[in-house]
Amino acid sequence: MTDTVLDVRDLRVEFPTRRGLLTALDDVSLSIRRGEILGVVGESGAGKSMTGLAILGLLEPPGRIAGGEIHLSGDRIDTLPERAMEAVRGRRIGAIFQDPLTSLNPLFRIGDQLVETIRLHTALSRDEARARALSLLKEVGIPAAEDRMDSYPHQFSGGMRQRVVIALALCAEPELIVADEPTTALDVSIQAQITALLRQLCTERGTAVMLVTHDMGVIAETADRVAVMYAGRVAEMGPVDEVVRRPRHPYTAGLMGSIPSLRKDVEELRMIPGSMPRLDAVPPGCAFNPRCGEAGPRCRREVPRIAGPGAACWLEREGGTA
């Protein structure tokens, strides 16, 4: 038995449209171990959320997995029928989305929503489920949790609501949590509470976490490893301090360079020229080549690939030239 919780291999997601087949994800491979946080960053529209949705089995038709495999603790899950996948979602994978209100029902009390979810996924009695709901609320740091069980979502602040969503995601003690921009809608002080909570879950429960965010500071302080996505592919993957300090892919380097500093003054921020291609107009070869200062002839012909740590870039290949 290995401690690999999530293993995604060569994932490909397609969208048939009137104007032809769109490839939203291609060659996406990533894995997360027990107690590990994998950060996922990249340009808007690069496919971060799509990767999370594919793992959760929540791709919206006509989007579909057209290639590759997804394994959860050794079990293949991408081929499961919808009913079986529903059970996996509640029990083995928890999901946290950007807007806490999409996961909470405004008409039901917080405590009742937790109890319902716990009873759906476990064999606990109503009283046991209620006790467990209370301890979860305490665990995610809701002050005076006893009094708060009977509150409605609108009576909570944004940060408290997101913590309730995390409690919901934890109800069945999942092996994996997919958190898609869980702190983007929240301000800095609440963001720090949520990321501290995620870190604590990893160390104390061994939960594996996939954390999607565009905040590099959050990634640097929270993630163990990071995957950088560009135009539906993984451009670079590695331990977080290596990717942040010594980015190997020209896109990652551009991304890091464009973030304003808390220490250094610059008149102009560095920019990556141009913008990411639309899915129906991805150039041949390396998708980044029209914006890359180091592109050579090979970059316009052949797609660079990676399956493990490193950069999907021809400069990276030993003895290779771009």
């Binding site: 990249g42 340009e43 808007s44 529209g45 002050p143 602040s157 944004g158 940060g159 408290m160 983007t184 929240l186 301000d187 800095v188 002080s189 609440i190 963001q191 720090a192 509470q193 990321t195 501290a196 870190r199 565009h214 905040d215 590099m216 500071g217 959050v218 640097a220 302080e221 929270t222 301090d241 942040v244 551009g254 991304l255 464009s258 973030i259 304003p260 500093s261 808390l262 220490r263 610059v266 008149e267 102009e268 921020l269 560095r270 920019m271 990556i272 913008s275």
Partner: protein, 321 residues
């Protein structure tokens, strides 16, 4: 700063909201009227060609100030004096989904301020200018024929920036202009805003929760807590010597890309209810330096103390010693 070079002055500015339950419930359940003081006595001035940033936790009143400044809300007290051309004040809203008319094509949305400001402009010229503006914010001129729903959040924010720029603003109120953007697009937008300021002397009221963005953009920063400005300082001074305990906590909370601290502690406590704020200094329940006096008296910014930069008894005491 002399009074004359201020383009905007806010004096004792207030905005209250009535958040009471409906009248019948109030009578039946004997609830009192509930008043929320979203902006509670705020003073600031912005010099022409400069940037003032507002920072603070969610709900502290930043967007309400933006709406008071642009005239979307009337003040409940105090006043705002604007010494510029009202027609050339524009606003970029926090929510790019709600602020664009869904039934208008992007071209019409961006063209509207041009047609208002310069009705004599011919169609071909308007079209060329719209194409220019879309390119400036990193969209393509072909996007002019599409409707807002065809764009992602970040792209919509760029449309609203293009619309604001179309009005040739001299004063721009920017409420979280880049929060929906990824960092590489953010760099493009921030560079553009700085360039416009250098070239045309634009003035910005800039709201953001990202302190590295604020540090890059602002000449001066006002830190808000529960509807009040608790500290206001030139940017470099605020980062080098934060005076208010809340500012210090805020600075300690931000994740730091350059020297990450993986054991960073979140800020303790919750923001109290703005309907029933704590007596005295409203920060006292969370303040590590709180004294007896803080629970009864309300600290204010006064010019004779630290140049009016901070409202805190402990900060006052530290200089008296």
């Amino acid at each position: 700063m002399t009074r004359t070079d201020a383009i905007l002055e806010a004096d004792a500015l207030e905005r209250r909201f009535d958040v009471s339950a409906p009248w019948l419930n109030r009578v039946l359940e004997r609830q009192p009227r509930r008043i929320l003081r979203a902006v509670d006595g705020v003073d600031f001035r912005i010099r022409r060609g400069r940037t003032l940033a507002l920072v603070g936790e969610s709900g502290c009143g930043k967007s309400t100030i933006a709406k008071l400044v642009t005239g979307l809300y009337p003040p409940s007290g105090g006043r705002i004096r604007f010494h510029g051309d009202r027609d050339r004040m524009q606003m970029i809203f926090q929510d790019p989904y709600a602020s664009l008319n869904p039934r208008w094509r992007v071209g019409r949305i961006v063209a509207e301020p041009i047609r208002t400001l310069r009705p004599e402009t011919g169609d071909a010229e308007v079209e060329a200018r719209v194409a220019d503006l879309l390119a400036t914010v990193g969209l393509s001129p072909g996007d002019a024929v599409k409707f807002p729903h065809a764009f992602s959040g970040g792209q919509r924010q760029r449309i609203s920036i293009a619309r604001a720029l179309a009005g040739e603003p001299e004063f721009l109120v920017c409420d979280e202009p880049t929060s929906a953007l990824d960092v590489s697009v953010q760099a493009q937008v921030l560079n553009l805003m700085k360039r416009l300021q250098r070239e045309f002397g634009l003035t910005y009221l800039f709201i953001s929760h990202d302190l590295s963005v604020v540090r890059h953009m602002a000449d001066e920063i006002a830190v808000m807590y529960l509807g009040r400005i608790v500290e206001i300082q030139p940017t470099a001074d605020l980062f080098a010597r934060p005076l208010h305990p809340y500012t210090r906590m805020l600075l300690e909370t931000i994740p730091d890309l350059e020297s990450p601290n993986r054991a960073r502690k979140p800020m303790g406590g919750e923001v109290p209810s703005p309907v029933a704020p704590p007596a005295g200094c409203s920060f006292h329940p969370r303040c590590p330096l709180a004294m007896d006096r803080c629970r009864s008296d309300r600290p204010t910014r006064r010019p004779e103390i630290l140049g009016g930069r901070v409202a805190c008894f402990a900060a006052e005491g530290a200089t008296a010693r």
